[in-house]
């Protein structure tokens, strides 16, 4: 009887905690998080406008002028990018083009049909846009579902007999890998690339690991900011879907601190 009473009490407590207290705490956390995040997004836009167009932008632009501003900004960025010795990338959302460049020479170009662009970029007014996008951005972080350099370590054989036995066979089993990667630009925003050809599915284990790493890092940073009563960092995101071969080539080619030019 006593044991039954104890069991019943512990069940009630567990029920209370799991079904009422924890959800209530999480709900409050969610509401606070959403409110602070909304503020963080608006603050980021305001900061950008204050940095790049402190006098504001009261001019009235025609469609033609706005297009020309965007085009000129991209060309300015590309010219500055050509001064660098490393491989860079240009993403032109207007023409749906992604290209790798080195010293102004286009190495590889591909069109994309699908892209998800954060509303943040469309909220930037022309005066700030011109200054912000006239310089190439630096990659501050780059990571993907595949390794950047697929190095295989091989121990030198002791003699020719061992060398004859240890013939390295080229691994072609990576045909079924799923390519997904992202880079962060100037610690300001994130551009992701996902292979557009889906025939190999999305159940590749390394892709799942990559996504878990990426999202758990984001969650950790946001929670740390909230728990220390700071505004969580907001990184507007862009996702571009390109063919697998290009996605892989671009990921392997771009250096850790490469330059990227953008046009919306």
């Amino acid at each position: 009887m006593k044991q039954d009473a104890k069991k019943s009490l512990s069940r009630r407590i567990a029920g209370l905690v799991l079904l009422k207290i924890i959800p209530a705490v999480l709900l409050v956390y969610l509401l606070v998080f959403t409110g602070v995040y909304v503020f963080s997004v608006k603050h980021k836009l305001k900061q950008l406008h204050q940095t790049y167009a402190p006098g504001g932008d009261s001019l009235s632009y025609s469609a033609e002028e706005w297009n020309l501003i965007r085009q000129k900004s991209l060309l300015n960025a590309r010219v500055k990018m050509s001064d660098s010795d490393s491989i860079g990338m240009t993403i032109n959302f207007g023409d749906s083009l992604v290209q790798l460049e080195m010293k102004g020479v286009v190495l590889r170009q591909t069109k994309f049909d699908e892209a998800e662009i954060s509303r943040f970029f469309r909220s930037i007014h022309p005066a700030a846009y011109e200054k912000f996008f006239s310089n190439p951005f630096s990659i501050t972080e780059i990571e993907g579902s595949i390794v950047k350099e697929p190095i295989t370590v091989k121990k030198a054989p002791k003699d020719s007999l061992e060398a004859a036995q240890n013939i390295t066979v080229t691994d072609t089993s990576r045909v079924k890998e799923f390519i997904e990667w992202h880079f962060q630009l100037d610690s300001t925003f994130i551009v992701s690339f996902v292979q557009s050809d889906r025939q190999f599915g999305k159940t590749d284990w390394s892709t799942i690991q990559y996504r878990l790493r990426r999202h758990s890092k984001k969650l950790k940073e946001i929670n740390q900011a909230l728990l220390s009563f700071r505004m969580p960092a907001y990184y507007p995101e862009i996702t571009v879907f390109i063919p697998k071969n290009e996605a892989k080539s671009f990921f392997r080619a771009l250096p850790q601190s490469g330059l990227v030019s953008l046009k919306f």
């Binding site: 009235s60 632009y61 033609e64 790798l100 020479v105 190495l107 295989t152 091989k154 969650l219 080539s249």
Partner: protein
């Protein structure tokens, strides 16, 4: 009396049951509440990661839309200046692309593209570095990869002879011979032509044509005989080679 009491009790019970059914709505059923809370737990993290940023962005102001389709008089000057600047920038970028022959090598797909007069002349398969890291005795370590960047053709050779570096012996489990030992020199393995890129890297032919398109080399770029001949004849000394 008893019958009346029974009827009264039954009536009271019926009232109570009716009232109970009225109070217990769909959402208040224990099982529904339980699943709703489980769903909340499951969706909590995805909501934080995806729904919240999307929701936050909904509060952003719409972009500065075009106020008019035709420019005002004052803006015509600005538009003309923009067009002039754009033309100048486009010309500047165009001049960066070599007008003569150049080669582009894709080390991920093991393909090459030969350009002349800004037109693609030839493309094909090649072999580039295998990304094998060979660890010898002590601190001896070699990583076989084709370096990325822009290079120039430093020299052109016909019937090249391969001077085997130390790793070629270490890889075979053989002792490393002295620098000018005859065993270091091997003929006929680099094809009919070779183009030097500097730092010991070459574009040359291969006996292993079936491996073209695969990353199997020690850093050099291998091509088949026909492609190599065309590349050799097209690229002069000083021509650019872009490797990515």
């Amino acid at each position: 009396m008893n019958l009346q009491n029974d009827q009264a009790t039954t009536g009271a019970e019926a009232n109570y049951k009716g009232k109970k059914q009225q109070k217990t709505g769909f959402l208040k059923r224990p099982l529904v509440r339980f699943f709703a809370i489980v769903l909340f737990y499951i969706l909590f993290v995805p909501f934080l990661l995806f729904a919240t940023p999307w929701l936050a962005e909904c509060f952003l102001p719409a972009g500065k839309t075009e106020r008019q389709l035709v420019a005002e008089e004052g803006r015509e000057k600005a538009i003309k200046k923009l067009q002039t600047d754009i033309t100048a920038l486009e010309r500047k970028i165009e001049r960066l692309t070599p007008g003569n022959a150049y080669l582009i090598v894709n080390t991920t797909e093991n393909k090459f593209y030969l350009y002349k007069n800004r037109k693609l002349m030839r493309e094909g398969l090649c072999s580039t570095g295998s990304y094998i890291s060979l660890e010898g005795e002590g601190d001896n370590k070699w990583v076989f990869k084709t370096p990325r960047g822009d290079y120039r053709i430093r020299g052109k050779i016909t019937n090249p002879v391969w001077r085997k570096p130390d790793w070629a012996f270490v890889e075979e489990g053989l002792p490393i011979p002295p620098a000018n030992d005859p065993s270091r020199y091997e003929q006929g393995v680099l094809g009919d032509y070779a183009l030097a890129l500097g730092d010991g890297y070459l574009i040359h032919g291969t006996l292993y044509q079936r491996f073209l398109g695969l990353p199997v080399t020690h850093g050099c770029i291998r091509m088949n005989d026909a492609d190599l001949k065309d590349v050799y004849e097209t690229l002069p000394v000083g021509a650019k080679v872009f490797i990515y």
